[in-house]
Amino acid sequence: MNLTQPPRIRTLRGPNTWARAPVLDVTILGSCAGIAETVLQLQREVGCRVAFHRTLSAGRFAVEYEDAEVGRLAVAVALGHADKAALADLADSVLLGVNTRALHDAALRRGIPVRRLDRGSLLQLGWGVHQRRLCGAFTDRTSSIGESIGWNKPLAKELLCAAGVPVPEGRRVADAEDAWNAAQEFGGVVVVKPEAANHGRGVFIGLETREEIGEAFTKASGEAENPNVIVERCVSGSEHRVLVIDGVVAAAARGDALYVIGDARRTIQELMDEVNLDPRRGYAPEAPLSPVGPDEVTLATLQRQGYDAASVPAQGARVLIQRNGNMSTDVTDLVCPENQRLAALAARAVGLDVAGVDLVADDISRPLHEQRGGVLEVNAMPGLMMHLHPGVGLPRPVDEMIVLSLYPAGGKGRIPIIAVSVESAAELCLRISSRLEAAGLCTGVACKSGLFVTGQAKRSGNRATSHDIFELLLHPLIEAAVVEVTDEAVVNAGLGFDCCDVVIFDGEPRTDAQRVLYESLNPGGITIPSSSAEDCVDWAVAAARR
């Protein structure tokens, strides 16, 4: 179908007359049979989690969206005005990444309101004075200095060392010759890596010969902007990622080495292809394991064993493919108290509230000191997937733990909302607000007479719109909100909040919009008829202060 006339689309971002979920209210010229389903399907294909659609009349339908821009483009694609590739690209760039999405959902499950602040990963949790922010696994308390210390490996190591956290001996090297000398100082088997290594790029492990150390130096110095290269003792054992949240170990995963076993028939490449058939391996960010491929590190690993990707290993030959990197087995319950203490101390020494501590140990259930294990890195903004979806072992609700660290007392981050849905509500709103102020609550008001905070006019004009209510709840100081809700506002944009505590009506709800408001009332919330203005104010204030 290719309709030339562009559709009229209203974005109802809050609860609305069609659904509690946000929907696009689409009106097109002509018949819309089947289009709603298509829009829903298109959104799902690009990764949106949406379920609701309804055809309202011949030319009008409502369809749930996750991201309004993606939803609108899906409508355009369904109508033949845009192509699918553009939709996929857009979804790719604007939908939340896996970590942020996990945190977003965890907050929602707790009943904490969440909204995105930008097109990236920035989330706002809670309202008004209770708001907190998250950006991936960065919280609003994650220190920028702590983050950059995490990046500055030599400094991080120095601080860890001072704190008594075991780290592998190592140093910065000037050239290939120096790298070789360093290797001799540290006992022969070493790791060569860029000073600013990220996600294992340019990291070469378990090197012994002068040739491979020299080669690794050249490659490592070519990575990133910082050409400095580190050589350090290769700590034997498995790599572990320990996630520390507020000084407590929340989860730990072990990354095991990956081997293939030769059958005297297939090449190593073919054996790796077989490994990649594992349904847990995939490029999707949710996939617990990455596919193995002939990347530089893998090739170097093969080369050290005298192979390349085309070699055909003998029957039963064990060929090392990856020494690490597939953090896959949950070992949270195995971490001994001493190692828990060391991981938490590592995060503290670097100065991070949420940190991914990478350590190497043969056995995580024994203290690092006993096995010459060591902490390699302390990362800001650690990935959460390996703990939420480990390849083997119990999933750990680390997303919920991070949200819990922001709201430790079990709060929902909400402030009381009093919704006023009566004729000439402005005066009533302001009266309630001044009583709340008198009771010591910093109060915001959005009504037809404007936007007020602590009784001061912040903006003039009609502010009884859902958008204004939305914005008001962002205000960092308010402890209560009194908002005028009009039918028009609900019809145009949905409610400006998901739940409220008090609703003041003229009488019984009469319109669809009023019913939406009524349904948004919290379980403990009250409705107050506006018959007696004075009582109404008293009740509302009492309810808000509860």
Partner: protein, 884 residues
């Protein structure tokens, strides 16, 4: 003229309380030449550094140095003055320098204070070049040298923002140390530490910073918080920029990058399509995404909000020149740039005005080029944004900011979530509320530059560094943890461990460094000799540590100064006849006392030096203590102690087996010596002295008496607590004493102690390191020979500069003079020697096992005992022992 070595003494040291660079200068062929004897030397030197005329030198008045040059001065001394002068020409004004002879002819120690080590080393190197050029009548490019050194200073020293914070911290007594070569600084010690990086603290959130970086999001958040902010939109391309400007924003407009800082790529007050498009391009060069927003007329103000308070405000004027009707814009800029306050980087009060594309556009907008000649008095803008980094100027307006404007700025910092924020305000009159004049907040900056407040081009400078320090360290918190330092010839490790043990009784996490390693409470995090400054520094970096005790050996003090700037308590156990004499140009016990005195000099004004009243060299340190002195002595009637008490001073001593703490004539009995297990029922004298030092130090640190006594009674005294210090083991009914002591004093006290244990035959296993003086090795041999029946000697693996067998021979010479010894054996390898000695003992014997390498010795003894026990040779005799 060569440098034998150059030492950076980063902590308090033998020269001064602050950092000093110490160069060992071998004058070589110049060693006997004085300045006045080298033709032309003085005149060349004075011509190159005429400003050194101010140096007083030993004559004590300006011109002193030049006068001394004329009278004749050795070149090492001249070198010191030149290095100091170069340092001050590079911008670091420091007056202290010394040149001293060493025991080797022609070799001098040249020392001078520094603020920045890199600069100081460079100044020293250049000073040598200069002196050699002056002496050898060679050319020397003074201008280039000074420029080079200024560049080094610029690169290597802290920038003005960070420096202001560090200086403010210093005024409050808060210690600081740089963590990297940029601006990252730790303030405070151990668990009390905080970190800053320029105007950023460890509370500055990464999320808040990225919000501030996103100008569009910032604007939206400001609006939601009711803070006046301009209308604006993100635009896609040039056409969109112009369309948005006209249709949605309204002319005139500002075009700026969505992500950016320091005003790069920002162009203001644009009304034509051409100008908007040019501005779009300039902004696009800085950021993927560009914003068009409404231009608000008025001046640029920067309001600095720290911890929810307005701390300073400046009006900022864009770079501009005033015409004189004769010169071109280019010429006027060149003149403006000669202002010494303008520099290329950020290190100075002002930055230089650059003529770049934005400048050319700005001029074009005013109908001019760089070659135009503006009329006299005409103000020509070179920039439209007022950032200092692009050549702008700043005027302090802190006192006249309207409270409502301040309140909006505070809200803006809050909504973005920054503890320190620079708020950019556009207003025509800062003394009126923004809402009354259409004023707006246009940006919120994380890590704002402070120099416009610290050194405004006009108006009152504001001490904004102090506001940051006060936020991090509320009143009463100076970022310090209790620190005790311990030194002396003998007993320092035992005292260090014992004092740490007592401190732990307060519930604090205690960091301790000593010859056996670094300990955090019971955990040993390093096992090398950790009695030097690097180890102390590590403990002070450790975020867990709430109190620290540092054994402080002479080697570290000489090599790099102390590892701490100040201590609450300094304990000096004794100097006696000294140890390690002849090394590092320390030849006599009083030389050694001078070195060890450093910790006494480092005692804070409220702190205490705990000194041995029975050792004259230790008593002589008392006048150098800025705080007060507490003396300890075994004898109550020690005259120093009596005099001190008569003046109301504190003391600790033994009276009838009871340890008494006294202040003036007030006395308090603490406990009997027998209650301290380490003294073996009060029988081992030197352990009683060690205990007195510890108890005195603990009292001086304000630890409550109950805790002190409880801890003193449970200072377990076995090989695991204080390995290698007076560990007493029962082997087949013989008493074996394992001890680390390795000098004349230690051996002498040990011999006195032997009588405590009933015995018949005396045996000893002993070695001496090769770096001791021949005399000392022979003295040790004599004492051994006078005191033991049978002596086994061996040589350590590290001969330390002597030929194999040489040390043993010297030791034997001493032994041969001894009148008790009947048998001397020399065994090549230390383990064999140790096992042989243990094999020798019979019930009733006493054997002194000198532990040279503590860890291995203890390990070998342990293994020997285990295997003997298995063989049924040794009874499971309880380990009785004590530390020393």
């Amino acid at each position: 003229m060569e440098f034998r070595k150059v030492l950076a003494l980063r902590g308090p040291n033998v020269w001064a309380h602050s950092p000093v660079l110490e160069a060992w200068v071998d004058l070589g062929s110049w060693k006997n030449k004085l300045s006045n004897a080298i033709p032309g030397f003085n005149s060349r030197l004075m011509a190159w550094i005429p400003s050194a005329v101010d140096h007083r030198c030993s004559l004590g008045e300006p011109g002193g140095f030049f006068e001394r040059l004329r009278q004749g001065m050795n070149l090492a001394h001249a070198l010191e003055h030149v290095a100091l002068e170069l340092q001050s020409l590079a911008g670091v004004e420091i007056g202290f320098g010394r040149a001293r002879e060493t025991s080797e002819e022609g070799v001098y120690k040249v020392a001078f204070k520094f603020k920045d080590e890199t600069l100081a080393r460079e100044c020293l190197a250049k000073a040598r070049e200069l002196v050699l050029a002056a002496a050898g009548d060679e050319a020397f490019d003074m201008t280039a040298t000074v420029k080079h050194l200024q560049h080094v200073a610029d690169d290597s020293m802290l920038g003005p923002s960070t420096r202001s914070i560090v200086d403010a911290a210093k005024l409050r007594g808060i210690p600081s140390s740089r963590l990297d070569k940029y601006s990252l600084v730790q303030l405070g010690h151990g668990a009390a530490q905080r970190r800053i990086r320029a105007a950023e603290t460890d509370l500055t959130g990464a999320v808040a910073q990225s919000i501030a970086q996103d100008k569009d999001l910032t604007r939206r958040l400001l609006q939601s918080a009711g803070v006046p902010a301009p209308v604006g939109f993100v635009v896609e391309n040039e056409a969109d920029a112009w369309e948005t400007a006209v249709d949605y924003v309204g002319l005139p407009v500002v075009v700026k990058p969505q992500d950016g800082n320091q005003g790069r790529g920002v162009t203001t007050n644009l009304s034509t399509e051409e100008a908007v498009i040019a501005a779009f391009r300039a902004a696009r060069a800085e950021s993927e995404s560009v914003i068009v927003e409404k231009f608000a007329p008025g001046d640029d103000y920067r309001l600095l909000v720290i911890n929810g308070k307005l701390v300073a405000a400046s009006r900022r004027d864009p770079a501009h020149v005033i015409g004189d009707g004769k010169r071109t814009v280019n010429e006027l800029i060149a003149i403006a740039n000669t202002d010494p306050r303008r520099s290329d980087g950020h290190s100075n009060v002002l930055s230089k005005i650059r003529v770049d594309e934005i400048a050319v556009n700005t001029l074009a907008f005013q109908g001019m080029t760089a070659e135009s000649v503006p009329a006299a008095g005409q103000k020509v803008l070179i920039r439209r944004n007022a950032n200092l980094s692009t050549g702008g100027t700043a005027t302090d307006v802190t006192d006249i900011v309207h409270p409502e404007v301040a309140a909006r700025a505070i809200d803006a910092a809050k909504v973005v979530g920054l503890d320190i924020a620079g708020i950019d305000v556009i207003a025509t009159d800062i003394t009126l509320p923004l809402e009354e004049q259409g004023g707006v907040i246009v940006e919120v900056n994380a890590a704002p530059g402070l120099r416009m407040h610290l050194a405004p081009s006009e108006g009152t400078p504001r001490n904004v560094g102090k506001a940051i320090v006060d936020m991090l360290f509320p009143k009463g918190n100076n970022g310090r943890i209790p620190v005790a330092a311990v030194t002396g010839t003998n007993g320092k490790t035992t005292v260090t461990r014992f004092l740490a043990h007592v401190l732990r009784g307060t519930g604090k996490t205690v960091g301790m460094t000593c010859t056996d390693g670094i300990y955090i409470d019971d955990r040993r995090i390093d096992s090398d000799d950790c009695s030097g400054p690097v180890s102390a520094g590590m403990v002070l970096l450790n975020p867990e540590v709430e109190a620290a005790v540092f054994e402080t050996a002479r080697g570290g003090i000489l090599r790099a100064g102390l590892g701490f700037d100040e201590c609450d308590v300094a304990v000096v156990t004794n100097i006696g006849e000294g140890d390690h004499l002849g090394l590092q140009d320390i030849h006599t016990p009083s030389d050694l006392a001078r070195v060890k005195r450093c910790i006494v000099e480092a005692v804070s004004r409220k702190g205490t030096a705990v000194l041995n009243a029975a050792d004259p060299l230790v008593v002589a340190m008392a006048p150098y203590c800025r705080g007060s002195v507490l003396y300890f002595a075994r004898e109550e009637d020690n005259s120093v102690l009596i005099g001190h008490r008569a003046n109301g001073g504190r003391a600790i001593f033994v009276r009838n087996e009871t340890i008494v703490y006294a202040q003036g004539f007030a006395e308090q009995a603490l406990l009997t010596v027998g209650e301290i297990p380490m003294t073996h029922g009060g029988r081992i004298g030197f352990e009683i002295e060690n205990a007195l030092a510890v108890l005195g130090a603990a009292c001086a640190m304000g630890i409550d008496r109950r805790t002190i006594l409880d801890r003193a009674k449970c200072f377990a005294s076995d090989m695991s607590k204080v390995p290698g210090r007076m560990n007493v083991i029962d082997v087949r009914g013989a008493t074996v004493i394992v001890d680390y002591g390795h000098n004349v004093d230690a051996l002498r006290t040990m011999v006195e102690t032997l009588d405590v244990f009933p015995h018949q035959r005396r045996l000893a296993l002993y070695t001496m390191a090769g770096d001791r003086r021949d005399d000392d090795i022979q003295r040790v041999g004599e004492i051994l020979g006078d005191s033991f029946d049978r002596v086994v000697i061996y040589e350590t693996v590290t001969a330390r500069g002597r030929k194999p067998g040489e040390t043993a021979n010297i030791l034997r010479q001493g032994l041969d003079r001894g009148d008790r010894v009947s048998m001397i054996e020399e065994i090549g390898d230390s383990r064999t020697a140790l096992e042989h000695s243990l094999d020798l003992v019979k019930a009733g014997d006493i054997l002194l096992l000198q532990a040279d390498a503590i860890d291995t010795t203890m390990e070998w003894v342990g293994e020997y005992l285990r295997s003997s026990r298995k063989a049924g040779i040794v009874s499971d005799g309880a380990v009785v022992s004590a530390g020393r």
